[in-house]
Amino acid sequence: MSRSLLRRPIAAALLLVAAAATGCGASAREVTITIHYSAFDQAAISVPRGVPITFVLVNEDPIDHEWLIGDDEFHAAHRSGTHASHGDVPTEVTIPALETVETTITFDEAGELAYICHLPSHEAYGMVGILTIES
């Protein structure tokens, strides 16, 4: 087998590994975000527009967290909100301590949204990530 023939599967494998490492790819349907020590393991994610994306939110901490995704206006409202918990809306999820929660969202418009935990002090502690919706 020639070297060029060897390179192709290796390159393909590397692409797959890279896509897996970032938790997404152009055709990703599922994105896993793990929370450990009050930090999202992925601070930047890209997903395609118009495709249902299932977010698997794994909370490894013994304290509750939130995963709320939206634009600036959305987050401004939640910073002063008084919801004890979330769950009825796919973009507003409470992840109880040491549990995993899934939510599925289809983003119809390209752009950037932020996902933030709005529990007291958690945003300031760094629980912020950016989701890019590709056109």
């Binding site: 009050s38 013994p62 304290i63 509750d64 004890a84 040491l98 709005h118 007291p120 002090s121």
Partner: protein, 354 residues
Amino acid sequence: MRRPLLSLAAATAALLITVAPTLACGGLIGPNGAVNLLRTTTFAGYHDGVEHYVTSFEFAGGGGAFGSITPLPGIPTNVERGGDWTLQRLVRETDPVDEFARAATFDALAGAEAEVLLETTIDALDITILRGGGDEVGTWAKNRGFRLPPDAPEVLDFYADRSPIFMAAAFDADAAAERGQAVGDGTPVHLTIPTDNPWVPLRILGLGKTDGELVEADVYLLTDEKPAMLPNPGGFLESDGLLLDHSAEATASLLADLRSDAGMEWVPAEAWLTKVVIASEAGQLDFDLAIDASGAGRPSAVDAGYAPFTSNPAPRTPIALYLLLAAMVIIAVPVALQWTAAGGSSRTLPPAGA
């Protein structure tokens, strides 16, 4: 007990505990509003293999419940109300101008729960001694409606890896008010902890604070010998926010006064008094105060949090093995070179003089 720690003073990290239902959205901490961070004073005396840890929880006003979590170097054999003047007398000894220091109140408290080893009530304080890892302690707190700040998972693991014993103190401000406690009134708590060496958990003092917030605390040590500490407060080129404010043989009057307080009859006839002032940004306070009170001058890097605790460390390679390997290299290299120069054959060297 996992490590050879002297018991020492577990500095108190008081956590504001928000009672359920805790509001999940938008910067609401609890019925007390913003977190009150007060200066903390703790005392750790070590004598005859027993640490006597005394701290005070102060009623700071407001209502609802709040509390603290304190890592401990071992399992207490006794938890009782502290004496009435031990902490005040220590402050007067070293800093007669300052007001009596207070317990800290931080932001605060939320599988398997931690094991409850001991429960008692002292005035308006509900004291619980817990054994468990960070997850178990966090679950215990959550199940009681307490919320831990976001840095708690990492900080609890930091301690639980070394000593999974914690004291949770829940302070019911409403009960305190009903008891007639005024703002500023403290409830001293005295823990008796058999242990091999004392250490003071300092990192817990920054729990719930932002990196730039100032952590202030006074730690008093009373030991048979002048203690060696790591980090070395006020040492040359040290910039860890620790100041050695007092280090001298304890005066006879101090020891007599301490001994006359409730539960302090253990105070020896002679001792060394040390006061360490902590004034550090929370983000820099990522260590504890290790103490060697034996006089050997070797405080533990593990106790200070500088080195990871390993319950079953791999045996160190004996120095003899390194020497043997070095000898083999010294012998083997010239032989190999000679063999290579000879063309790699197995020809034997001619006898000397041939």
